[in-house]
């Protein structure tokens, strides 16, 4: 495929088109015949065909067999089932009614408050804790997928010493013996390696350890770490300072390569506050503005009003230019040489920030150099943002350290033979430590290596002892959120495989006999909380999911004089060693994977099958490059390339990502796991192999060469395409002010009476959904929430490639503009629950029919799998079980299923039900209490998970309901309304608020 020609034809087509043009993939844009073919099919080619040729005899055999099976299988008697009561019914359990417990999940140490649904002691679904400041009821994809992680059949189940099964007591004895040997030398040979720790209790334990063994050392390393943030704060303030943001007060936001709304400690809260400032309702036409400078397309960038895609090496330059433009104190020197678009971007953003001093935020990404963070602190301080929208406090972490330095020091000690006992608690350093350190080789010099891990992974392989770790949902622990709020995390279930927590492992170092996790936590808080009545303190904290009054108070922090100058000097110095631009090399950016993070979620099928927010790739990572660079290198999507960085090489598939900065490529680390469970091992390529301490986030000179091979990637971006006009409607705030109805005028809705069928009357409730496209960040939380709530199976890469993914809710991603500067828009699409549903009339067996409240009910036990409904659905939202996707045999997986939703089997069509189990549940509760269902009482799973409240469900017969009010907004439009399907799901057109100065130029 000659991609270059295709792109040229695409550009030509775009230049000819009038008005706005939206596209989903480069193939669509270029009018690739293969795409046209795909478009006209319900499922991609071969999705519904036999693998190999079918001869007449085989056909007749199968026809006869299916007739016999179809006829006879309906005649089986229902098997006898057992009913097993409790011996003693635990207090507060009502069989058949779920209970909710407050706890938290951590990622990179930072906590998000959760409410976990438990059915008779089995956690089945994660929700956000509405009272928790970092959640406000929302969750991210990782928290949603915790349930599958808990019930993962591949989890480590045994305590092993060199592969032999041992007991916990045997381990404790062995450890105590080793510790006795250390006692005389003050523990000089003891090393503990953890991830980032915010748990006050764990911090206390480590401190006790260091008290008992004064020479023992604690190291922290997180592959997707925030060293630059920590070092930047140190550079600016001379001490460790935590910075958090208040987006609810921000009028102008400038992000220097920060995916702040998706991937930062407070991102759920930030996204909510940010979206609240951009909801245009009832003629209130005011929005905040987001300037995004990014080096690899991010989901945050898709919300930007102005996006500038540049190479990482330019980020410090632009920060310097911004500092100069804003005249931040003590900064002088020669002006930066900027490209025209960069200069205009910076000057407009700077003017905007200056115009909104004290009501703006400048934020730098985790991967931006420390000096950039220091400059950003200086800017926020100068503009008066600090203390208003940018809040400083004492650090959330127990002990903020430079983690790369920390692990380097550990490796040096190991190599020098100074380490006798290393306990690796969590993490997976053998896999994810920087490649140049030689961690594994040094590790082998340690005489006693202990490992606490959720799975037997690469690191366990190199350790003497592997101790199964208790899952988050099995553990007593605590953690702090982005603002310092402490959650006492309570287990939902006894450890399934006798796993131990980090506390219990450390207790084996400290206490004889070791204490249980609960005792450790209670003992710590009994002394710390100093509550008059500890028992009430304990119960209240557990119940609320927060320890009252633990949020860290904001404190004034002023950058040290000269900090900005030092940062500038550091940037200049780094710039002096910059390589020339024209050597044919590309800059290589390293980022954590959007769905499996640093690799820890690799064995989670829900996350593997989740399409990545921008590329829509599943089950793989790829080397992403921009269309221009791909054209120069002659690379097409799916080409296998060799990436070489300083002599280190990996083989990876390439993928052309519209909007990716030119001259750079991005790889996501986390894939290429060599040893984890059945799901995650051996897929993707290992980008850690290229990642070194000197270039953790970005390497300026990587060689990318085609190998001539091709790799099939399971990318869903073209699946279920709807051919039609104006599916996603986007306008500017200015256009809205001119004509609030602009979105509605982009399509035509036929009058209500133009139908041959008699209409349904909806006398009671009429359920509907409104989705605000301005708020959707494409974060995917709704998709995983839907999977968890509705028992949606994982189908695997091969099936996804055939377009057989089962997600009831998909997020369509559209591009606008040319391939290089493409702006992306997200559109969540689930069943529209049409009032005039094309699917209902074609079902020969009445398996899909209209409910009295307007739902297109899907009755699995009636469905015979003709797939006519799916053929006739213009929205492509029906999913067919081509094979037996639901695992009905693995016992542990059964524990995690939602008992209120049928587990579908092969040959059955399924689709979004608006979470009818939740509707029925709320209705039954309301009717028993003899009151109407309150607006907001029913939340669909997707709505509940959404960080920005983009999805609103409710009764459209109730004119005062939130959903009715949204549907009355002038921005409201229906998808493919011209077909007269009268969809119950409608959209609010996406509004952007571009700066007129930049727009004009």
């Amino acid at each position: 495929m000659s991609h270059r020609n295709d792109l040229e034809s695409a550009r030509e087509r775009l230049s000819r088109s009038r008005g706005r043009e939206f596209w989903r993939s480069l193939e669509e844009l270029s009018g690739d015949p293969a795409f046209q073919d795909l478009l006209h099919r319900e499922f991609p080619r071969h999705a519904s065909e036999w693998e190999e040729g079918l001869d007449r005899r085989r056909f007749l055999q199968l026809a006869a067999a299916s007739l016999a099976l179809a006829g006879l299988s309906a005649c089986t008697r229902q098997p006898l089932e057992a009913i097993v009561p409790y011996v003693k019914l635990p207090e507060e359990i009502v069989p058949g009614r779920p209970r909710f417990f407050a706890t938290a999940a951590t990622l990179g140490g930072y906590a998000t408050g959760l409410l976990v649904e438990s059915h008779e002691g089995r956690p089945t679904k994660i929700e956000g804790n509405p009272d928790h400041p970092a959640s406000l009821g929302a969750t991210d994809v990782f928290a949603q997928a915790l349930v599958l992680g808990l019930y993962d059949p591949d989890r480590s189940q045994l305590l092993l010493e060199l592969g032999e099964i041992r007991t916990w007591n045997a381990f404790v004895q062995r450890l105590q013996a080793a510790l006795r040997a250390q006692q005389s030398q003050g523990g000089a040979g003891i090393r503990i390696l953890t991830g980032t720790v915010t748990s006050p209790t764990l911090g206390d334990q480590v401190r006790s350890l260091v008290t008992r063994f004064p020479k023992a050392r604690w190291h922290q390393y997180e592959a997707s770490g925030r060293d630059n943030v920590r070092l930047g704060a140190r550079l600016a303030f001379g001490e460790s300072i935590e910075t958090r943001y208040d987006f609810s007060r921000a009028d102008v936001v400038l992000s220097l390569d920060a995916d702040v709304l998706i991937a930062s400690p407070g991102s759920l809260r930030y996204a909510r506050d940010f979206a609240d400032r951009r909801r245009v309702r009832g003629g209130q036409a005011r929005m905040s503005r987001l300037y995004m400078i990014e080096t690899s397309p991010t989901a945050t960038g898709t919300l930007a009003d102005h996006r500038l895609a540049i190479r990482s090496v330019r980020v410090p330059r632009l920060a310097v230019a911004l500092v100069a433009e804003l005249g931040v104190g003590g900064t002088s020197g020669s002006p930066e040489r900027l490209a025209d678009d960069e200069a205009r971007f910076i000057s407009s953003a700077a003017a905007d920030l200056r115009g909104h001093a004290g009501r703006g935020i400048v934020v730098a990404g985790d991967q931006a150099p420390a000096a950039v963070h220091a400059l950003v602190h200086a800017i926020n301080d100068r503009l008066g943002n600090a203390g208003s929208t940018v809040l400083h406090s004492a650090p959330v972490e127990v002990e903020p350290v430079d983690q790369v330095a920390s692990i380097r020091e550990l490796v040096e000690d190991m190599r020098a033979g100074r380490v006798d006992l290393l306990a690796i608690i969590g993490g997976n350093p053998v896999f994810d430590a920087p490649a140049d350190l030689g961690f594994t080789e040094a590790l082998l010099k340690v005489p006693l290596r202990l490992r606490l891990g959720l799975e037997e992974d690469e690191t366990s392989e190199y350790c003497h002892w592997h101790i199964p770790e208790a899952h988050t949902l099995e553990t007593w622990t605590d953690a702090r959120a982005y603002d310092g709020t402490v959650t006492l995390m309570q287990p939902l279930i006894e450890p399934l495989y006798a796993g131990k927590s980090a506390h219990e492992l450390l207790s084996a170092f400290l206490d004889d006999p070791p204490r249980t996790g609960r005792e450790i936590l209670r003992d710590y808080w009994r002394t710390t909380a100093k509550a008059a009545d500890f028992e009430s303190f304990w119960r209240l904290s557990l119940h609320d999911g927060m320890v009252p009054g633990t949020a860290l108070p904001p404190k004034a922090a002023t950058p040290e004089p000269g900090a900005a100058a030092r940062a500038l000097a550091a940037i200049r110095q780094a710039g002096a060693t910059e390589r020339a631009d024209d050597d044919g090399l590309l800059e290589l950016n390293f980022r954590p994977d959007p769905t499996i993070h640093d690799g820890r979620f690799a064995n989670n099928g829900w996350l593997q099958e989740l399409p990545k927010p921008l590329s829509k790739m599943t089950w793989d990572n790829a080397a992403y490059i921009g269309p221009a660079a791909a054209g120069r290198l002659g690379i097409a999507s799916g080409d296998v390339v060799e990436i070489e960085v300083e002599g280190r090489k990996v083989i990876a598939p390439a993928w052309i990502l519209p909007g990716h900065p030119d001259g750079a490529a991005t790889v996501h680390f986390g894939y290429g796991r060599r040893k984890c469970g059945r799901v995650g091992a051996g897929i993707g390529f290992d980008a850690y192999a290229l990642r070194t301490t000197g270039a953790l986030w970005s390497h300026p000179g990587a060689a990318i060469r085609r190998t001539g091979g091709r790799q099939v990637l399971a990318c869903t971006q073209e699946h279920f395409s709807m051919e039609g006009r104006d599916l996603v409607r986007v306008g500017t705030l200015a256009a809205y002010k001119d004509d609030p109805e602009f979105a509605r005028k982009m399509g035509e809705a036929p009058p209500k009476d133009s139908t041959l069928y008699p209409g349904f009357k909806y006398e009671g409730h009429a359920w509907g959904v409104a989705i605000d496209l301005s708020a959707c960040t494409g974060c995917n939380a709704c998709v995983v929430a839907c999977v968890a709530e509705n028992n949606i199976p994982v189908v695997g890469k091969d099936q996804v490639r055939r377009g057989r993914e089962m997600h009831w809710l998909r997020i369509d991603r559209y591009y606008e503009g040319g391939p290089e500067a493409a702006d992306a828009h997200h559109q969540p699409v689930m069943c529209m629950q049409c009032e005039q549903a094309p699917c209902e009339v074609v079902c020969p067996v009445g398996a899909t029919s209209h409910s009295s409240e307007g739902l297109n009910d899907m009755v699995y036990n009636r469905c015979v799998g003709t797939r006519y409904c799916s053929n006739n659905c213009p929205y492509k939202v029906r999913r067919f079980n081509f094979l037996q996707y639901s695992d009905e045999t693995t016992p542990v997986l059964k524990l995690g299923r939602n008992p209120d939703v049928t587990v579908r089997s092969r040959g059955v069509m399924e689709k979004c039900t608006y979470c009818v189990q939740r509707i029925n549940g709320a209705r039954i509760t309301a009717e028993k209490e003899e009151r109407p269902i309150k607006d907001g009482e029913i939340q669909t799973a997707c709505q509940q998970a959404c960080p920005t409240q983009a999805i609103v469900f409710g009764d459209i017969n109730d004119k005062d309901s939130r959903v009715s009010r949204l549907k009355a907004e002038p921005l409201n439009y229906g998808l493919l309304e011209q077909l007269n399907t009268r969809p119950r799901t409608t959209y609010l057109a996406k509004l952007r608020n571009p700066n007129p100065d930049l727009e004009r130029g």
Binding site: V84, V87, K88, L89, S851, E853, D857, V859, N920
Partner: protein, 218 residues
């Protein structure tokens, strides 16, 4: 050339074509009858249980209320099967040495639940909620029959969808005052006027609502 078939074949073929209609109709009838027969539905069949528990004795004889054992019937979709501890409330004193009750004592002793065989077993794709039926005035005996007259528990109703729909289409034929829900002996001579009144009073939804597929299937 001689005839291959005898002349009588004509008659025979006419008769067999005619008969085929009856045979097919008969076969369909047999299949439908089989589908509704107790063989398929287990209606009226007593299943083997670890302990021969008598509802007749406990309900009619001793006068226990249904909710003494089925505690969650008013609050949950599941009526609740009593935990062993509930049985032992009385049986640690009464019949404390009975051989028949050994499985119950063993359960408490070993902390292992008693495994009963489900008698009224709806298919897994039907989502039935006890609490709302009780709240809307559907008596226990309306579905479970006169358990106070059953020495050993059996399934009273066929529990097939057509049976459920009889009531979902015409709830007025079955509802009773809420106060009488747990009274197995309650009867009224005047369901025709009481029924519609209770349907209004209890806010029982219309037949259209109650027969929407998602009312029971999801």
């Amino acid at each position: 050339m001689s005839q291959i078939f005898h002349r009588s074949t004509n008659t025979l073929s006419r008769v067999s074509i005619y008969a085929a209609v009856f045979v097919l109709a008969g076969l369909s009838w047999v299949l439908m009858a089989l589908d509704r027969s107790p063989y398929t539905t287990r209606q009226g069949i007593v299943l083997k249980q670890p302990v021969p528990f008598s509802h007749e004795h406990h309900v009619a004889g001793l006068g226990l209320d249904c909710r003494y054992c089925h505690t969650s019937v008013e609050t949950s979709r599941f009526a609740g099967i009593p935990p062993t501890a509930t049985c032992m409330n009385c049986h640690k004193l009464i019949w404390a040495d009975s051989d028949m009750l050994e499985p119950v004592r063993a359960s408490l002793r070993d902390d292992r639940p008693i495994v009963w065989t489900r008698v009224n077993d709806l298919p897994d794709f039907a989502y039935f909620d006890h609490s709302i039926h009780v709240a809307k005035g559907v008596g226990c005996v309306s579905c479970h029959g006169r358990v106070d007259e059953m020495p050993l528990m059996r399934q009273e109703a066929p529990l097939q969808m057509e049976w459920c729909l009889q009531c979902h289409r015409h709830p007025e034929t079955r509802v009773r005052p809420r106060a009488e829900v747990f009274n197995p002996k309650w009867e009224t001579p005047d369901q025709a006027s009481l029924g519609p009144r209770l349907v209004r009073e209890y806010g029982i939804r219309s037949a259209l609502d109650l027969t929407s597929c998602s009312t029971c299937h999801r």
